[in-house]
């Protein structure tokens, strides 16, 4: 593998992203929405905290069973904690959504403009091409996710009154989520796009089908809220291992499907 070829692909894709309003929106819109929504939520929570009666904490009875340390918290603090956890789970959708948009556009547009044939006629290897495209989809997505998370942490410092609630944002599990789960989820989007692109001809269809990958994250968030599951460092590490295995499998399938001959003779 020649790194300069991977970098050439990455560089060219970035040049195209910068010149495409649609792709820039695909990066900034989810980042903006998924940052502003939690920040708005925090601002709202700050005012609502006082109105939560202590009896309402019983609504989170199952969660309290799993996290006994929360029993000493006020009902308002527990409610804030639960909602913040929900928001933080949403941050994990960002690498998925952004990578899916970028990767689907990158692969499908080559298919539509027939630019793959001259590209594949160069000495570039399939692995170099896929790595370049994968990085193109992953780097902006991860950068947007991390910057958004950082903004959320800094703004949370100002907006969250309860130190106990704020300290929940600094738990190691979120470090695992941002540094391990986010890249793996981003890679999942790229792998799924590569697989789907061998069967589908337009980016929108890839995004619609690929969009189903956000469902497990939504389910995880809801499961924690209703007390079916506790998202802690252990569950995140287990999740990361499962995700890494899934990435590897799907990526291998994608690479197997993404073959020069099939691309040139069957991609119509």
């Amino acid at each position: 593998m020649k790194p300069y070829r991977v970098f050439a692909v990455l560089r060219r894709e970035m040049q195209e992203i910068v010149k495409s309003r649609g792709l820039l929106l695909a990066i900034f819109l989810p980042a903006l929405f998924l940052t502003l929504l939690p920040l708005g939520g925090i601002a709202f929570l700050g005012r609502a905290l006082d109105n939560v009666s202590s009896g309402d904490a019983q609504d989170f009875a199952r969660l309290l069973t799993m996290m006994p340390e929360l029993k000493t918290w006020s009902a308002g603090e527990v409610a804030s904690y639960v909602i913040l956890e929900q928001f933080l789970t949403m941050f994990l959708m960002m690498p998925l959504i952004i990578s899916l948009s970028l990767a689907s556009q990158s692969v499908i547009s080559e298919k539509q403009t027939k630019s793959l044939e001259p590209l594949l006629a160069t000495p570039i290897r399939t692995s170099e091409l896929l790595l370049g495209k994968g990085l193109t989809a992953m780097l902006p997505a991860l950068l947007a996710t991390w910057v958004a998370f950082l903004i959320f942490l800094l703004a949370g410092r100002l907006l969250i009154d309860s130190p106990r609630v704020y300290s929940s944002l600094l738990q190691p599990k979120w470090l695992v989520a941002m540094l391990a789960l986010a890249p793996l989820l981003s890679l999942l989007s790229v792998s799924i796009t590569v697989v789907l692109s061998s069967r589908v001809n337009d980016a929108r269809t890839v995004q619609q089908i690929g969009g189903f990958v956000v469902l497990p994250i939504v389910i995880l968030g809801v499961a924690q809220t209703v007390g079916l599951l506790l998202l802690n460092v252990t569950t995140f590490v287990i999740g990361a291992i499962i995700l890494a295995a899934a990435d590897l499998l799907i990526l291998r399938l994608g690479v197997r499907l993404f073959q020069r001959e099939k691309i040139l003779t069957r991609w119509k």
């Binding site: 070829r5 050439a8 560089r11 040049q15 195209e16 403009t113 001259p118």
Partner: protein, 307 residues
């Protein structure tokens, strides 16, 4: 420079290319002619290591297809049927990307990009997005892209299709110039006039190679050599004089024009002229009759149904 031996490609049950054995010499322009679906592009893709042959062998620039694919791709340039450019990027960015893939250093990249943009007349619009370019400009840019790394062998797939006559001429002239630089050119085309003008040899192909030779030899093989004689007021005496010439075959009369098949035109034409003059004919014009390559091609292809 290019050699194939029984090169075959099948897709499921369909045979696109059957037992192609061919040699293209270094510095030659070889035109590959055939109808749509004949397997020309498939052949080109196999030689450019884009798809793998089902059976048979091929070498390009002395390297084996299927074994040295990366090295072959580094030594060839290819103009695909569709330009396949990145339309949001400008001409320089498009070329720079490919130059990087070929591993050219920064100084060489800049020099080569400027050189080919200048040669192909795109220098003034190099900073415009390629999406704004005309078809002809896109085709020229694709040609520049194929040549940045100075390949020994260049494959052209329908280089002038959908171009206006002016742009087509620029492209044809440029291909001729490439030959003068000693490059080997494999030209897939429907344009028989183009093949006739440019090619040293043509291969007529429809799943398998029907004939391969110089355009002139193909004409000779199919039609022999004919000479046209135009006289003023063709008389029966002239016709009798021609009939008496044993070496004059297949004499055809069309008004005042006589077409005669001659095995050795240089030697026999003066004898025909003498016979006509002796018979009292007023000879106005004598010239070799040249079947168009189109006629040769159509005759060859019509007898070969697609399998």
């Amino acid at each position: 420079m290019i050699q194939t031996h029984n090169l075959t490609k099948t897709f499921d049950k369909f045979t696109a290319v059957a037992d192609l054995s061919l040699t293209v010499e270094a510095g030659e322009i070889f035109a590959f002619l055939g109808p749509n679906g004949a397997g020309k592009t498939t052949t080109m893709r196999m030689l450019a290591c884009l798809i793998a042959p089902t059976s048979g062998q091929a070498t390009v620039a002395g390297l084996r297809v299927g074994h040295d694919d990366d090295a072959i791709r580094a030594r060839i340039g290819i103009l695909t049927e569709a330009p396949g450019l990145y339309e949001k990027l400008n001409a320089v960015q498009n070329l720079d990307f490919f130059a990087r893939l070929y591993g050219l250093d920064a100084a060489t990249r800049a020099k080569q990009i400027a050189r080919y943009l200048d040669i192909l007349g795109l220098g003034e619009r190099q900073q415009e997005p390629v999406g704004n370019f005309s078809k002809g400009m896109k085709q020229k840019l694709s040609i520049a892209r194929a040549l940045l790394h100075e390949p020994q062998v260049v494959f052209f797939d329908e280089p002038t299709s959908a171009l206006d006559p002016e742009s087509a001429k620029v492209v044809r002239d440029f291909i001729a110039e490439l030959k003068s630089e000693g490059r080997t050119i494999f030209l897939c085309t429907h344009n028989l006039d183009e093949a006739d003008r440019l090619a040293d040899r043509v291969g007529v192909f429809k799943q398998h190679l029907i004939q391969v030779d110089t355009p002139e030899n193909l004409r000779r093989k199919l039609y022999g050599q004919r000479v046209l004689f135009r006289v003023r007021d063709l008389t029966d005496a002239s016709k009798r004089a021609l009939a008496a010439l044993a070496f004059a075959r297949d004499i055809q009369f069309n008004g005042d024009t006589i077409s005669i098949a001659l095995d050795a035109p240089d030697e026999m034409t003066p004898r025909v002229v003498n016979a006509l003059v002796d018979a009292g004919a007023a000879l106005c014009e004598v010239r070799p009759e040249r079947a168009s390559l189109e006629e040769v091609y159509l005759d060859l292809v019509k007898t070969e149904p697609l399998q």
